[in-house]
């Protein structure tokens, strides 16, 4: 992981205003010598320890306990429950045994298009890996981890290609989750950014729009799930005339896998776009208006101001919000559970929903194993994303 532990480094992530980071070194030293507040001994610890302690306290035990659970099996003996250690059996069933198609899907050789997509994706991964290895000094451990990450990402891509871009292949819950996350982030981020840009314009009634746009986020996810079940009901739902017009009167979402998945993605986007919206809105409102007016006076066009002033300024918070939506999106469960019940078959099941269903039938070991597969997957993807995003932010 890239680190900058030099005491004179004002901001390790290089997102302080350009005139600070790019200023002459002497200037930095001068600031540091008078910035005594930044080495206040007590404050350093008072500020960060409460957070670290409560997270340690409430995360370490569950983390270790569920790892133990993933290696074990509950046995219901007379009057009590035994936890038997079964080694890797849960993982073996999921990855190679009877649950393989459920989790990974039906793997078939890719079509020519699939090969092309895989080639492009693998080339991109390889290029990013090479830049990250050559850009800065990398310790041996860092290099090994990066290569391992690149291999894991390529493997994941290969799995996606085999299930989605192949004759007769079918995605399992893992690939479906990835589809939800990627489509969700794309839709939510673009919509949220667009709405935030619209809502910072000095238009009349913008306060009304801002509060209205926030509404979907305020509803409990379960409530949103049921609401979308009403919306997507082709017989009794409010959109019945629309469905009728499209000749879908007898259609139920639960019969077509992709229609059901798209319904889940739409519901998810409806709920979470406001999250992107409000975070970017606050970031846009925090921008220094004078810099942009100065640029305008100097003859910059709206597009140039947006491209060269606004985007760099909101880039850090944008990468953060994508990371948060990435992590949260992988845990999607309420929307598919309530909207489609995971059907048709298991077509709309996400990883967390699969874990939830196992959990409901008290198969706690397998549920924990799925959760750990998810943890591993998201850790690899999030680490790769953070490394990539840091590189981007530095270069702009």
């Amino acid at each position: 992981m890239a680190s900058s532990g030099r005491p004179l480094d004002l901001d390790p992530r290089g997102v302080t205003p350009p005139h600070v980071t790019r200023g002459p070194r002497l200037h930095r030293r001068a600031i540091d010598s008078l910035g005594g507040w930044r080495s206040d001994g007590a404050a350093r610890w008072v500020f960060i320890w409460p957070s670290v302690v409560i997270i340690l306290f409430l995360s370490i035990f569950p983390l270790v306990a569920s790892l133990t659970l993933s290696f074990s099996k509950l046995v219901f003996a007379k009057g009590r429950i035994e936890v038997d250690f079964v080694g890797l059996q849960n993982f073996q069933i999921l990855l190679f045994g009877t649950e393989r198609t459920h989790l990974l899907g039906l793997l078939k050789p890719p079509t020519p298009l699939g090969w092309v997509v895989f080639g492009l994706g693998a080339a991109l991964v390889a290029r990013t890996l090479l830049t990250s290895l050559t850009r800065s000094r990398v310790r041996p451990i860092g290099a090994v981890l990066r290569v391992a990450g690149a291999v894991a990402l390529s493997g994941l891509l290969w799995l996606v290609i085999q299930t989605l871009f192949s004759e007769g292949g079918r995605p399992g819950s893992l690939v479906v989750t990835i589809v939800y996350v990627l489509a969700g982030i794309l839709v939510q981020f673009l919509l949220g950014l667009g709405l935030a840009i619209l809502a910072v314009q000095p238009l009349r009634g913008r306060r009304f729009f801002r509060v209205v746009f926030l509404l979907p986020l305020t509803i409990t996810p379960i409530g949103v799930g049921y609401m979308f079940r009403m919306m997507t009901d082709t017989g009794k739902g409010p959109l019945e005339p629309v469905f009728g017009l499209l000749g879908m009167g007898q259609f139920t979402w639960v019969t077509d896998p992709w229609a059901a998945r798209i319904a889940v993605i739409i519901g998810d986007a409806w709920q979470w776009t406001p999250f992107v919206f409000i975070v970017l809105l606050a970031a846009l409102e925090g921008l220094d208006q004078e810099i942009r007016e100065a640029a305008f006076v100097d003859g910059a066009s709206h597009w140039q101001i947006f491209r060269h002033i606004t985007i760099p300024a909101i880039l850090p918070v944008s990468t953060t919000i994508v990371l948060i939506r990435l992590i949260e999106g992988f845990k999607i469960v309420d929307m598919p559970n309530i909207l489609t019940g995971g059907g048709p078959g298991t077509a709309t099941q996400s990883l967390t929903l699969q874990a939830y269903l196992d959990w409901r039938t008290l198969n706690l070991g397998r549920s924990a194993a799925i959760a750990y597969i998810l943890l591993l997957l998201v850790t690899v993807i999030a680490t790769a994303y953070v490394g990539w995003a840091r590189g981007r932010i530095r270069r702009i």
Partner: protein, 341 residues
């Protein structure tokens, strides 16, 4: 301002663009509001009106009734009020605590440099694993925890000093956010055991603690970006004038970080307000929250759409009021003129 299309600043968009903006804004407002309208009229319907097909307009399509509202608010009044108060108390207190702690940590991660030693962290992990193994082997957990801490303290003094490799602020931040990766489904049973051992099951305190812990990483990450975007000159000026770090944070940083603080507070509040699975496991009767009540409307007789609609509507009212009150603080102008060369 008589004409809404008039330009007031050179940065204002052209009248044509304004019209397009309004069209888009109204379109999305419709997308957001239509499902809510449906929810509102569903709450006024009798089961038979919901069942017989889409009716859109009260008094025209169907005869509205307050039966569902009366049932939830009066007949079952006490069963609604208790979860409601729990949600308010748990949501507000966990959001405030998470915001205070998280903002402090975020500021520290932006302005201070931390270098936690890898050796110490590894030692801590070994001690935790040892204590956990001891508990599995049958040692009482109190003994295991105390001896684990003691071993850590002893070894930290001696051995860990030899390891010089350190991590940086970025690594701390990534560790924090990584604590949100594991889905709640995997942590609820261990959490249940944890709170059972300390006798806090079915209390508001257990929920507040859990929500603070789960929402802290999001607060830290969002506030880190908002703080990093602030001009450091203001803090330097205050430091030159002799202000302490606490004073700088209180009087300089927090006032200009208000838009970010408000946005983050709203998000944290909403997350805690609406959380379902953890509340399901950690609370039964006393500390039950509203999402459980919503889910309970789809129990044995199929979804009770009308009751569900009422519950969702009364649940979002306080959040909307708070959003309306706080929205004015997410606005420009606080920074304008603060930094002059």
């Amino acid at each position: 301002m008589a004409n809404p299309l008039r330009r007031r600043s050179p940065l204002d968009i052209s009248p044509g663009a304004k019209v397009v903006s309004y069209v888009l804004l109204v379109f999305w407002a419709f997308v957001v509001l239509f499902p809510l309208y449906w929810l509102a009229i569903t709450s006024l319907k009798l089961p038979i009106d919901v069942d017989k097909g889409p009716y859109y307009l009260p008094f025209v399509d169907f005869q509205p009734t307050l039966a569902a509202w009366r049932n939830i608010l009066i007949d079952l009044g006490n069963d609604t009020l208790r979860p409601y108060m729990n949600t308010v108390v748990v949501g507000l207190s966990s959001a405030v605590i998470a915001l205070v702690m998280g903002a402090a940590a975020a500021y520290a991660l932006v302005r201070f440099t931390y270098r936690p030693r890898i050796g110490l962290i590894a030692l801590g992990a070994v001690c935790v694993a040892g204590a956990y193994g001891a508990v599995l082997a049958g040692v009482p957990w109190q003994v295991a925890v105390v001896s684990g801490v003691a071993v850590f303290a002893l070894l930290a003094q001696g051995i860990a000093r030899r390891f010089r490799r350190t991590l940086a602020n970025d690594d701390i931040a990534f560790w924090l956010i990584s604590q949100r990766i594991l889905p709640p489904i995997a942590v609820v049973i261990p959490l249940y055991v944890l709170f059972q051992q300390v006798g806090l099951l079915d209390t508001q305190l257990a929920l507040v603690m859990t929500y603070v812990a789960t929402n802290l990483p999001i607060v830290v990450w969002l506030m880190r970006d908002y703080f990093a975007a602030l001009p450091i000159e203001l803090e330097e000026a205050a430091a030159v004038d002799g202000a302490s770090v606490y004073r700088i944070v209180r009087s300089v940083v927090l006032p200009i970080a208000v838009p970010g603080l408000v946005a983050t507070f709203l998000i944290t509040l909403i997350f805690a307000w609406n959380e379902y699975l953890i509340a399901l496991i950690l609370s039964s009767a006393k500390a039950q929250t509203m999402p459980l009540l919503v889910a309970a409307q789809d129990a044995t007789r199929g979804p009770q759409w009308w009751a569900m609609s009422v519950l969702v509507l009364i649940m979002i009212v306080p959040v909307i009021v708070m959003a309306i009150v706080l929205e004015r603080y997410i606005s420009r102008g606080i920074l304008v003129g603060a930094v002059k060369g």
